[in-house]
């Protein structure tokens, strides 16, 4: 009798640890595996490199998590990154603008497009997946129209600092990601509108009846999603030093994968930024480790897809158990 009780407790403790730190346990396992498999993996230079590589994903994932919390989706962020790349590059090179001004205008543009997404979704009550899919196609077309499909390069040296600079040993993109994630956590944990994201995503009708202006929450969330995608786009432009029309291609799916790995529910209402960071790092470590092991691009795709499938399957199984 006593025995079964204590094993039960151990089991439930393990389950709750798994639930809280699940993605970090996966991360740890991956890191141990790659450390053993490749001598180059566990090296501070390499690990900082991983952090820098994932920083854009991490920045965009904050806004994307908000959208998922709301029960929506934003497929337009990849195209937004492309657009921000092209517009900023065009303003700096072709129009000769000051980089600071060009960056500000681009961020304003990306936030504005996000707001427009939110406005359509809230007022016309169209499915977010359709609205943002259409927006994704439109924006990509606009980017092509601006540059004719050709890369734009030749920026001022100072602009490269954002994507390539360091403060001490830490790459600046990683610092930007840390700030954005910190902001994301602050919004969700401390502010009232962060609570509204969970409320609207969990039960829109009850949220509205509790005096929440649901439309305004939607505007805000999609605006933030667009804005953070814009920030990711600027970092990317500065890192690659040229504006390209393929900059953000398929980025939305990468970010979606990271968020879902990090336990954000695609049906809305639950998720945490701290775990999304875990999801982002798992994807980063996975692709870095696979490169170190000389696994080809194509095989990497197979593995990444499988990881997503398994992660979601585990999540669903856990939900079914509870019900």
């Amino acid at each position: 009798m006593k025995n079964t009780d204590s094993t039960k407790t151990v089991g439930s403790v393990a389950a709750s640890i798994g639930k809280t730190f699940g993605i970090y346990i996966v991360l740890l396992v991956l890191m141990v595996f790659f450390s053993i498999a490749s001598e180059n993996f566990l090296d501070s230079h390499n690990l900082l490199n991983v952090a820098r590589q994932v920083s854009m994903m991490g920045i965009a994932a904050v806004g994307f998590s908000f959208v998922l919390l709301l029960g929506g989706i934003d497929l337009s962020i990849g195209s937004l990154i492309t657009l921000v790349n092209i517009v900023t590059a065009w303003l700096m090179v072709n129009a000769g603008w000051n980089p600071v001004l060009a960056v500000l205008i681009s961020l304003l543009l990306s936030a504005g497009i996000g707001f427009f997404n939110g406005w359509i979704i809230a007022n016309l009550q169209m499915p977010p997946i359709i609205v943002t899919l259409a927006m994704m196609i439109i924006i990509e077309g606009v980017a092509y129209l601006i540059c004719g499909g050709l890369p734009i390069y030749g920026f001022a040296k100072s602009f490269a600092v954002i994507g390539q600079g360091y403060i001490g040993p830490v790459p600046i993109p990683v610092i930007i990601m840390a700030i954005v994630m910190g902001l994301g956590m602050f919004i969700l944990r401390k502010t009232y509108f962060g609570r509204y994201f969970y409320a609207v995503g969990g039960n829109e009708e009850a949220a509205e009846l509790s005096g929440i202006n649901v439309k305004r929450v939607k505007y805000l969330v999609y605006t933030l999603s667009g804005f953070f995608a814009g920030v990711a786009g600027i970092v990317m432009l500065s890192r690659t030093n040229s504006g390209q029309v393929i900059a953000g291609k398929n980025f939305e799916f990468l970010v979606l994968t990271a968020c879902v790995l990090g336990g954000v529910s695609v049906s809305g209402g639950s998720g945490k930024i701290s775990n999304v960071l875990g999801g982002v790092l798992v994807l980063g470590v996975l692709s870095n480790g696979l490169v170190l092991l000389d696994v080809g691009d194509y095989a990497q795709k197979v593995i990444r897809g499988s990881v997503l499938l398994i992660a979601v399957a585990l999540d669903c199984l856990q939900h079914r158990k509870k019900a």
Binding site: K8, T191, R195, G202, N203
Partner: protein
Amino acid sequence: MILQLKNITKRYPGVVALNNVSLDIVEGEVHALVGENGAGKSTLIKSCTGAVVPSEGTVSIQGQEFSALNPKLSEELGLAVIYQEFNLVDELSVAENIFLGRAIRKSGMMIDKKAMAEKAAAIFEQFDIDIDPNALVGSLTVGYQQLVEIAKAVSQNAQILIMDEPSAPLTAAEAESLYVMVEKLKAKGVTIVYISHRMEEIFRLSDRITVLRDGQKIETLNTSDTNLDDLVKLMVGRELKETYPARNHQISEEVLLEVDNVSGNGVHDISLQIRKGEVLGLAGLIGAGRTELAELLFGVKQKIAGRVVLHGKEVNPKLPKEAIAEGIALVPEDRKKQGALLEVDIKGNISMAILERISKFFTVNKKEERRIAEDYQKSMRIKTPNLEQKIKNLSGGNQQKAIIAKWLATEPTLVIFDEPTRGIDVGAKSEIYTLVNSLVESGKAVLMISSEMEEVMGMSDRIIVLQEGRISGELERKDFDQETIMGFAAQG
């Protein structure tokens, strides 16, 4: 003994849902199962069907004893359950639903719709039910859907029928045809286990009553040997004060809410007044426009004509948010869909409508939030180990108390209750009534929508009856009478 439970215990991590419960169901009886929410009724049913395997004890059906049953096996042994949520497919016809998974075939793959419709019609005829077997289930009212569900069980030759709060979603007239059906089933020798919160129907239908409390069987009684007061005492384990506690205060002359010729959202030309300290009851059949009127007052929907005056000032809320700012609160009828944020903790549910008020620079003052939630937990006696529990883990009555707490926290002057006690147990009901009294005693006004005739008569100072979106009658407390009210509700 057609169904026998011996020493059933069911443990979940941290909770004992059933503790050594034994129960004998005699062939051909209607056996009522009563108890507060969380007493273990659902777990007991699930143990009978095999949906839950008890930690200890055995279940015997028709003399066969099992320690681990499964739903398929119990069904084969003639046990059927009518759950609150129906297992019907809206897009299929009545007959197809009755024979779902057992369709009558002509030859090979072809389904014999005609034969199924005839068989279904034969079943309905036995019970004097007027349902077209070819109608789509989705086109039927909830009451008829339930009768289809019962007919389905009958067609499977169910010997034992367990009904889990079957009357809860039904109107008075629909409930009446349910009772008739239960009586006819009994006359045909079907054994029925009947679970309900409604005491009148338990006394009307049952032969014996078993009371559960906190996972234990308290007693099995012959219905003819007991009465309402004794039964309620057994269920709650303490003496309840009168069902509808008395109020001893003067209703103010001052009018708090005045509605002038308001139309829109399915109601027409509504005029009424509520004074400070008054409970105004809104009676009527389902669909008479009571909830729709509440939606207009609360800014969920917009009126197309008329005026609403609150505290002498015309108000015109476009959103619930604006209505709340004017001092109106609405406790909605559907607790799970409209009231609770199930995945959010109790504290967060209580503070949801006042978050902006207790925030500075967008940041929620968590100390203040906790203080307010703790205050309401104490004053409303919300039973929970802590305020960080998700609200979905609470019993129905405690969920409802937490939702009412959310509204009281907004410090409203007019509280609209829409079916405030639906589906909750007697103990919590009585606490909610006491709370309504304390609201009006402190000078607030209450508009109370209820489909339970006793409740609306027991709680209101005045009753307005709606019928097809219009006011069809108004009664002062001294004139309250069930038949008069029903007359106003149904006339036309």
